[in-house]
């Protein structure tokens, strides 16, 4: 007889613990317990059978793993929480006695670590525990960045203290500086919620969402205590991530922060980055606006030195990485692409592969931008800088730190503007090129030699990694749709931005070519027969042809093997067609090219049919439920692809018409 097991000694009853039990075990208050769980990454769990944990549980009981809670008992933060609890008790006792001054004294002393010798706690040790490697931290950066950027843009209330907001803002700006210097911003998207950014840091794609300015209302149904706890943790995390990122590119962290400039709304401009090993000698302002104009030769030399050093470091690290790779037989994702090197010394100089013709990170390097006062400065400044732009000017309303506040600066090459075109002014004045000398430029009047674009141009350029034609984005022009760069088009889907050749299927292409050939031939014959051909008639013919082809296809589905017969029937069909239209039989005119194409089509069809058969056979293996599901999927897919085909056909027609006109 097996040993009799006691109830509640093993299994779910032992593995899980309810929240109330956990709180009692840790001797904490519930809010403190929540905080600790958030910081330590302990999440509510769900036992397979709640009743097996305890009979008294209800549907809303929350469970945790007993081992997790047991582990929490070793947490040094726990002592801090308990100290706080003791303090609370002392204060409440004093208040109950009416000794208000005593209560105030207790509180004062606890809040003054230098007086009591008890330091306030940090979350430093938790970071390493939660994220054992730096890449783990990068993977969780999506949430962190979204949260911090959101809090940086909140108005301060009692729930969200101004100190926290300022701290979030600072950390975010520091992070942006890293992205600018390292050129790791990849994509950005203007959505109705906010602005999405995607960066690639050490091979990790990081996506975050930044709200538009002055848009966030604080609502009641959000628990700020919980959000605040997350923000506290994420602030610590981003601090460490920034430190690591800054030191990885040889910059000192934290960067110098100019309070005065920040108060004047300089934002990114309030920071000045310094290299690590020249902190004593001097400093470079990596993001100084219009740096190139006042280059100090000394500083330049220092910069060169640093860059050289950095390169050496990189190469070193590359080597070490290679060694590591050799040792561990695993590849680490790196941003650099392979180099082709000649095998023997003195070999040919091999052309090196590059990402593209132009470096996307230097997209705006040679331009000087001016931001009109109605444009969003912060995102534009960040994106332009991240893609190599050095000189950005803006209206003084938008804050300090501009390259120039003068709109008429002759060095400006691009002017970002988002104003409607005023009709009256144009009729009155004509073009603005006449009054070049005028100080102020009236509505609708432009400075010559400068490209005017709407803000979307910047985003579209960045996402497509090329400079878009600015005419499409001129002020007052109907903008092309702003597409999401995060959506990959499904294969076979119609994409308006791609040329037809790039997206049509093989079958479609052949069909189109055949049609063209036929049309050409017909036209030839028509010209022989009759000189004036109506387009309408032509259309009709096309339709009839389509019908005939469809018929032919249906016929073909019936018999598979007999190719010869098939061709015969096809020919007969053609003859019939010709008879109907009162024309000569053209089968003799079919040139070898068309013939090969016809054959190709036939092969394709055959292949498709075989595939369909295979699929049918495979479907037989599925259960009835799954088969139904699959059929449904197939149905919708076919519908979709038919729609795409239609769209492509429409475009083909339009293009053809255009070509004929031209």
């Amino acid at each position: 007889m097996p040993k009799i097991k006691k109830k509640g000694q093993a299994g779910a009853a032992k593995n899980y613990i309810t929240r109330t039990q956990a709180v009692k075990k840790l001797q904490l208050s519930l809010p403190d317990f929540r905080k600790l769980c958030i910081w330590k990454g302990i999440y509510p769990r769900e036992p397979r059978n709640k009743k097996k944990v305890s009979k008294s549980v209800t549907a809303s009981t929350t469970f945790y793993y007993t081992k997790d809670i047991q582990y929490l008992l070793h947490e040094p933060l726990l002592q801090k929480f308990r100290d706080q609890k003791v303090l609370e008790k002392k204060i409440s006792r004093a208040l109950g006695r009416g000794d208000v001054s005593d209560a105030a004294r207790f509180e004062r002393h606890a809040a003054r670590p230098e007086a009591t010798g008890k330091p306030r706690y940090t979350l430093n040790h938790v970071i390493r525990e939660r994220y054992p490697t730096f890449n783990d931290a990068l993977r969780d950066l999506d949430d962190c960045l979204s949260m911090l950027f959101l809090f940086a843009n909140l108005p301060s209330t009692s729930a969200v203290p101004a100190k926290m907001i300022a701290r979030c803002e600072r950390l975010c700006l520091e992070f942006q500086h890293y992205l600018i210097v390292s050129h790791s911003l990849r994509k950005s998207f203007l959505s109705i919620k906010g602005i999405y950014y995607q960066a690639n840091i050490q091979g990790e794609d990081i996506l975050w969402l930044v709200p538009y300015k002055f848009n966030q209302r604080i609502v009641g149904d959000v628990d700020f205590r919980i959000m605040g706890t997350f923000v506290e943790f994420y602030m610590t995390l981003l601090g460490f991530v920034n430190y690591r990122l800054y030191s990885s590119i040889g910059l000192k962290y934290p960067p110098k922060f100019d309070q005065l400039k920040d108060e004047n709304g300089a934002e990114l401009g309030a920071f000045s980055l310094e290299g690590v090993n020249m902190a004593t000698q001097g400093e470079t302002q990596a993001v100084a606006n219009g740096e190139e104009q006042q280059v100090d030769p000394k500083v330049q030399a220092e910069v060169d030195k640093i860059i050289k050093q950095l390169k050496e470091d990189e190469s070193k690290s590359d080597e070490t990485a290679e060694e590591d790779a050799e040792a561990d037989d695993e590849e680490k994702p790196t941003d650099s692409i392979d180099k082709f090197e000649p095998v023997a010394p003195g070999g040919d100089v091999l052309p090196q592969p590059a990402y593209s013709g132009t470096d996307p990170s230097q997209l705006f390097a040679n331009f000087t931008f001016y931001l009109s006062r109605e444009t969003p400065r912060q995102p534009l400044e960040f994106i332009l800088r991240a893609f190599g732009c050095k000189r950005i000017g803006w209206d003084s309303v938008l804050g300090e730190g501009a390259f120039t506040n003068d709109e008429s600066d002759p060095s400006i090459t691009h002017h970002v503007i988002d104003r409607p075109v005023v009709q009256a002014a144009t009729s009155e004045e004509g073009d603005g090129e006449d009054n070049q000398t005028a100080q102020k430029v009236g509505p609708n009047q432009r400075y010559p030699g400068r490209i005017y674009v709407q803000p979307q141009w910047v985003w579209d350029c960045v996402n497509d990694e090329e400079l878009k034609s600015p005419e499409l984005y001129a002020p007052g022009a109907a903008l092309p749709p702003h597409l999401s760069p995060f959506v990959k088009a499904a294969p076979g889907q119609y994409d308006p931005t791609l040329p037809l050749e790039a997206q049509q299927t093989e079958a479609e292409a052949i069909e189109a070519d055949l049609e063209d050939a036929k049309e050409g031939a017909e036209e030839g014959s028509d010209i022989e027969n009759d000189m004036d051909v109506d387009e309408a008639e032509d259309d009709e013919e096309e339709e009839e042809e389509d019908d005939a082809e469809a018929d032919a296809e249906e016929d073909e589905e019936g018999d598979v093997e007999e190719d010869e017969e098939e061709s015969k029937t096809l020919q007969r069909q053609l003859e019939l067609e010709a008879e109907l239209q009162g024309k000569k039989v053209q089968n003799k005119k079919v040139d070898p090219k068309t013939k090969s194409k016809l054959e190709h089509r036939k092969a394709l069809e055959k292949k498709a049919k075989e595939e369909a058969e295979d699929l049918e056979r495979a479907k037989g293996m599925l259960s009835k439920k799954k088969r139904k599901l699959f059929e449904q999927m197939q149905y919708t897919n076919n519908k979709k692809s038919a729609q795409d085909e239609k769209l492509r056909a429409k475009r083909r027609k339009l293009e053809k018409e255009k070509a004929q006109k031209a």
């Binding site: 769990r45 801090k80 204060i91 001054s101 940090t122 959000v222 628990d223 997350f230 690591r244 104003r419």
Partner: protein, 458 residues
């Protein structure tokens, strides 16, 4: 003299003779009987009010020898002597002691001091706590302390090489021969992912990749597709709401009907009960003729009467219980029917959802489609985490008449704060909570104080 006295007790100090125990020295001194003294003092006061202490007065003031009758009195007094009202008598009483003047006098007069003309300085209380501070302290005592985490600039690399750390530790251990303290190992369960609230159970991204329809200037096809789908969703929700209403109405109707039936049944039962009762009294009409000849039944004893009474009560109880049981069964039947209806509806919904899902999903790139799924498309699991439901997502859609192609004119949609919070819940990082502003307020009970009635007129 009328005196106000409390209802309970005699309104006097406790007396020695009422104190049962005299244990200890202090007990002897306690509650010494002072009634005599108090009485004397009261009497003295009364005498003073009435015109001076009698003992101090001369006998001439107190007594007079009347030698001849006063003839005028008979003239003054009316024929029928009328005794004045007691109330008038009381009101007419005047104290011999003059009243204390209420006039305000200057301070110098009252204190009788001459000041130097310099105002005395107010002593500053060093331990004074302002009211604002006090409220803050109270909050702290209630556990609403402000953040105690110190967020400082990072000054070291948290992910520095762990090998180095180990080396350091090794070096340290060379010179340290104390036993090393074992650090608590994190359990494996700690590394497990939180429970995602998606029906598929897959982990959701923190920031879902936005599709083209979320663009501020969307392509027409994207936008119209999204718009149509939202429209369909809204219509479905409205339909559901109406159905729910209808169901509720039906339920209420059925309940009312069954109630009426039960009542009717009860009435009928009551009627029949009266008929039955007559049998117990032994007053059956058909047996009357026979019984007349018979000996009249004996007079019932009290015990018999009690027995009958008990039996009746028992019968009544049983009947009542049966009626209640019937009623309950009917209600349960209604519930059952409602449940059946609900189940059928649920099944239908499930089937519909499945079909929709299948239609949306591509067969080939299953994972890709999941990755691209937006927050609002996520199908939620049935069992929620914790007590409260996941809050609904805001509709993030710019209406067609508000659609602008200029960034300047864009009206941002949705609330990012709510969005982030919901995302946290969705990924199972925390359980849902709801702000309850009235939770901690103590329940107040209003009572009337009776002290204003707590006296008697003597």
């Amino acid at each position: 003299m009328p005196v106000l006295k409390p209802l309970s007790g005699d309104g006097q100090a406790p007396k020695q003779f009422k104190q049962p125990s005299r244990k200890g020295k202090k007990a002897w001194r306690k509650n010494v009987d002072v009634t005599e003294v108090e009485q004397g003092l009261d009497e003295l006061n009364a005498q003073i009010i009435k015109g001076g202490v009698i003992a101090e007065k001369k006998s001439e003031e107190l007594f007079a020898i009347d030698v001849k009758p006063d003839t005028e009195i008979t003239k003054k007094l009316p024929k029928q002597f009328k005794k004045p009202l007691k109330a008038d008598e009381i009101l007419a009483q005047r104290s011999a002691v003059p009243a204390v003047s209420l006039k305000k006098r200057p301070a110098s007069e009252t204190s009788g001091k001459v000041t130097d003309g310099v105002l005395p300085s107010k002593r500053l209380r060093a331990t004074y706590v302002t009211h604002k501070e006090l409220t803050r302290l109270k909050r702290v005592a209630d556990g609403h302390h402000t953040t105690t985490v110190e967020v400082v600039d990072a000054t070291f690399d948290a992910w520095a090489d762990p090998e180095e750390d180990k080396k350091k530790q090794m070096e340290e251990s060379l010179y340290n021969f104390l036993p090393k303290v074992d650090k608590a190992k994190a359990p494996k369960t700690l590394a497990q992912q939180p429970i995602s609230l998606a029906a598929t159970g897959k982990q959701l991204p923190a920031v879902p990749k936005p599709k083209g329809d979320k663009s501020y200037n969307p392509a027409f096809t994207d936008y119209s597709e999204r718009y149509q789908s939202e429209l369909r969703k809204a219509e479905e929700a409205e339909r559901k709401r109406l159905e729910e209403l209808e169901k509720e109405r039906l339920k209420a109707e059925a309940a009312a009907k069954s109630r009426a039936e039960a009542e009717a049944a009860e009435k009928r039962a009551e009627l029949s009960e009266w008929e039955d009762d007559s049998a117990w009294e032994g007053a059956e009409s058909d047996a009357d003729g026979l019984s007349s000849k018979k000996k009249r039944p004996e007079r019932k004893t009290q015990a018999q009467r009690n027995k009958i009474k008990r039996r009746k009560a028992e019968e009544q109880r049983l009947k009542h219980e049966a009626a209640i049981k019937k009623k309950e069964a009917e209600v349960a039947r209604v519930k059952h029917i409602a449940k059946e209806l609900e189940l059928a509806e649920k099944e239908r919904q499930l089937a519909l959802q499945k079909a929709e899902k299948a239609a949306n999903n591509n067969p080939g790139d299953d994972t890709a489609s999941l990755e691209e799924e937006d927050d609002d498309d996520v199908e939620l699991r049935r069992r929620q985490l914790g007590k409260f439901k996941l809050p609904e997502k805001d509709l993030e859609l710019v209406l067609p008449d508000e659609l602008q192609d200029s960034l300047r004119l864009l009206k941002p949609e949705g609330n990012l704060l709510k969005d982030r919070y919901r995302n946290l819940l969705l990924r199972g990082k925390v359980e849902a909570r709801r702000h309850n502003p009235y939770k901690k307020q103590a329940k107040k009970q209003i009572t009337e104080k009776w002290t204003f009635k707590d006296f008697t007129l003597q």
